[in-house]
Amino acid sequence: MHFVAFVCKDFFTEKQMPRELWKGNEAIAEAAVRAGLEAYFGYPITPQTEILEYLSRRMPELGRAFVQAESELGAINMVYGAACTGVRVMSTSSSPGVSLMMEGISYIAGTEIPAVLVNVMRGGPGLGNIAPSQGDYNQAVHGGGHGDYQPIVLAPASVQEAIDLMVLSFDLAEKYRTICMVILDGCVGQIMEPAQMPEMRPIQRANWDWATDGKMGKRQRRILTSIYLDPVQEEKLNLRLLLRWKTIQQNEVRYKEYFLDDAEFVIVGFGTAGRVALSAVRTARQQGIKVGLLRPITVSPFPHQVIEQLVGHIRGFLVTEMNAGQMLEDVRLSVKGRVPIEFYGRMGGMVPLPDEILSEIQRMAAGPLSIEANPREEWFERMMARN
């Protein structure tokens, strides 16, 4: 299969242009504005509220649309309406609010229109807490709304990466007429880091051949809907979505790799978990352990082929997440039982410390790993023994 994957630049090590200090959430808001955001609809929820607050000032200043909706349900349906007109539109929320948006997300997917969403994930399930989490991986990557659809999901690990991915998310959403979701944990949303903003892009209303922006005496009427009462037509829509997804899988995989050239062990982690793992990898390297890190940027489409290519060269994977092993299942799908996989996760708003991941690396490097072992079960037993 034809396959293009982008190895992204290293935001942690490369020398950069002069930068400003930005808070993650505010940086996301400003990056969206500079990418041409014409309308924002949102609802307050910690830890993403700064995005809403920032845009409540910024959007009117630029003469663009801002509405604080009555609920996330209202917000996503305002996004749905505005997206139908072909403008760049976004909503942002955090885990419980994103759950409420799932109805609209499925409708947007079924209507084949572009929209950008941000989930600043917090501890769950339920009301949970407001601490950083990656517990919504499955919801984001494997759907969440009803029916068959797959959104593009991007996972930044720093403020700079969040800025860059926000700009990319609008381009990808429009290119494929799809939902593009940026998932970050509360940590990236709340952290302040030096970062560089892109130039302000002028608003350019593309003359889409699908947008319902009024006939205006120029064309036949258009309808945007997600209802196909005839199952034959609905199946055709599903096939169309799958075909589009195949193209996305072939062309839009993005990831970041660290120390993979001579790695005997590879950690797979996204977002903050991947970033914490990098610290552990550096320390382990100093101790002579040949360990590398693969940090998926697109968790959907998942970099299956990249893992596939590593399988023949390494002795084992360690998947680390701030959840109970959700991405782990995708790694297992790529590895197909050919090399051992270990898992280390923290949940409920707990963020793993570099030392915790380091001791996992040390354990993996010292002990023989079993291919047959279920990484989730083994991790669970260790967690229970610890508590």
């Binding site: 909706a69 349900l73 349906n77 749905y80 109805e103 319902t212 922006d213 006939k215 258009r222």
Partner: protein, 258 residues
């Protein structure tokens, strides 16, 4: 469409309609309501810049019948979707067409807040006292004692609550420019309904705030009545429960001559 040279044309399909047979039951007043909207859009010359938002319910295929751009909302969410459209395209005319299950039950939050924000939208609200499309279940507007497929012994207000009067409720909100209730049970009331629909769209054109026309309508199929009986039912039972009238007409709207 058959076109023939006529000297004295007294009745024609409104320009705002497509040449599509509707899926509505015989005797249902959805067709009348559709026609009134299409005629108003034609008379005001705003078809080209109108974008409709269809509901979930019997009018789910409204987008097939109007010759304007149309989007199809999730159940109850039409006012939110319309808000999104209107906020990015304020010079377009945006209207929703919603039934009572859609607007007064699942979509209560969306309609109240669209009205409270004073969104410059026009809402055509069809109140036929039941969920038509799913087979005549009880709606928030079902009359006390009225039998439906989910209140087979008649709506018991002790356990199933009381009807909601949407026009009166929304009239309390400052963002509303025009909200009235009309009925479609006879020609006189149909003419009054058309005038109200015209005023609602004029309210939007002038940017005078949220506008809604509630239309008492029939559902012969689910009510188990003939079309004539159902018109009588509206007159004798629904009008007393949902009094016709102007619930809010702001000073600016009152000055509009149509």
């Amino acid at each position: 469409m058959v076109t023939a040279a006529v000297n004295n044309l007294v009745f024609k399909r409104p320009v705002g309609f497509t040449d599509t047979p509707t899926t509505y039951c015989p005797g249902c007043t959805h067709g009348v309501a559709h026609r009134l909207v299409a005629e108003v859009l034609e008379e005001m010359g705003i078809i080209e810049k109108t974008i409709g938002v269809a509901p979930v319910g019997c009018a789910v295929f409204a987008y097939n019948y109007f010759d304007t751009d149309f989007v199809e909302a999730a159940h109850g969410r039409a006012p939110a979707m319309a808000t999104g459209i209107k906020r990015v395209l304020p010079d377009r005319i945006v209207f929703t067409y919603q039934g009572d299950g859609d607007l007064a039950s699942i979509g209560m939050g969306e309609i109240v807040h669209a009205a409270a924000r004073g969104e410059n939208l026009t809402v055509i609200f069809i109140n036929n006292a039941n969920f038509g499309m799913t087979g005549g279940q009880m709606a928030p507007t079902t009359l006390p004692g009225m039998k439906t497929t989910s209140s087979p012994n008649g709506r018991d207000v002790e356990t199933q609550g009381y009807p909601i009067r949407m026009a009166e409720m929304l009239a309390t909100l400052d963002g509303v420019g025009y909200v009235v209730r009309r009925s479609l049970h006879d020609p006189k009331n149909i003419r009054l309904a058309k005038k109200a629909i015209r005023l609602a769209f004029e309210t939007q054109v002038r940017g005078l705030g949220f506008s809604m026309v509630e239309l008492l309508s029939t559902c012969p199929t689910n009510w188990g009545m003939t079309p004539v009986e159902s018109l009588k039912f509206v007159e004798e039972h629904m009008v007393p429960a949902f009094p016709l009238g102007d619930y809010k007409v702001t000073a600016g709207v009152a000055q509009i001559k149509v």
